[in-house]
């Protein structure tokens, strides 16, 4: 099955068809939008969307088309899809802890739910590969991560796991590596831009 996307990609290139669409998934506040912004800014100088410390800032999948990833001599054209944080429970009380009004928090919960459902539907048909982003300061064995990696594996999508936020003092990217030994793990800081070259090299290798 590994060869299949490559063959499709080869014919795609031959006949000028669609590029690989890479979805950035992960739990809320893992730094998905920061990473998407970093990649897109590195390449085009633009941004994908706003970031916030309040979970579920991204409530609709956002797409940036035709992002050219250069790594050494290889060039790869991809579409980046930034998705809402994936979770199994959404409760408006969580947003009120950040000082949000009740009505606003309830509306945010509803939008976030729609956004996660939409992101999961994208995974079914529209995504060719996944960058799964994790916060290195958090426990990687959270139920949602195990479940999501399982779903991605079941759909036979190529995946890169990103151990993000390595600029923080209590970051422990090694935990992520031992949690998912079956997948490539790249340690980065999307905020500071550490180690992005290694990520671009991995993207060129895994999603080509």
């Amino acid at each position: 099955m590994v060869a299949f996307p490559r063959i499709r990609n080869f014919f795609g290139k031959l006949f000028g068809k669609k590029r690989s669409r890479v979805g950035i998934y992960g739990p809320p506040n893992a730094g998905k939008t920061t990473l998407a912004n970093r990649i897109v800014r590195d390449v085009t100088g633009e941004a994908v969307g706003p970031v916030s410390e309040i979970p579920h800032e991204t409530r609709r999948a956002r797409r940036k088309e035709g992002v050219e990833i250069n790594s050494g001599s290889t060039k790869l054209l991809i579409d980046i899809v930034d998705t809402p944080g994936v979770t199994t429970k959404i409760d408006y009380h969580e947003f009120m802890e950040y000082g949000m009004e009740q009505d606003e928090a309830i509306a945010r919960a509803r939008e976030a739910t729609e956004g996660v459902a939409e992101a999961m539907h994208w995974l079914r048909e529209d995504i060719d590969g996944v960058i799964y982003v994790l916060d290195s300061t958090q426990d990687p064995f959270m139920h949602v991560n195990i479940m999501m990696v399982g779903i991605i594996e079941a759909r036979k999508l190529p995946v890169i796991i990103v151990a993000n936020k390595i600029d923080l003092p209590d970051a422990a990217p090694q935990r992520i590596k031992s949690a998912f030994p079956q997948h490539p793990v790249v340690e980065i800081s999307g905020l500071e831009g550490h180690n992005m070259d290694e990520l671009y090299a991995k993207i060129s290798e895994v999603f080509r």
């Binding site: 994936v86 979770t87 199994t88 429970k89 959404i90 409760d91 408006y92 009380h93 009740q102 928090a105 309830i106 919960a109 509803r110 739910t113 996660v116 459902a117 999961m120 539907h121 995974l123 079914r124 048909e125 949602v144 479940m147 999501m148 779903i151 759909r155």
Partner: protein, 130 residues
Amino acid sequence: MPHKCTKCGREFRDGSVEILRGCPSCGGKKFLYVSDRVKNEDVLEGKSIEKIAEETKQEVLEVKHQGPATRPTDILERVESVRIVSKGKYELNLERLAESPDIIIGMGDDGKYMLDLPSMSKRKANPKKK
């Protein structure tokens, strides 16, 4: 004094919490409290458990279905894609959302569902498109 499953005769030591979920061997829900003196009579003398119950005049203990423990709490067994627990509180069934286009909304906590029929009647996107 041990308990015995009235259906299959499996023995459980006194105070065993296993039987609260029913007999692990046969799923039986009725248990008889037997004294050590008579506990092997079903095997040794071929008596039925009912007969032992009759003779010892012990009441048969029936285990009722446990409320929360036997409810399908596992999200994998759930039929809904999204459950609206209450206003602004949601539970998402990620596996179901990833594998099926059908949208089933669970309402509250008491087995109410809403089915989004258009999502179920939609044909799969043209496979040639991919």
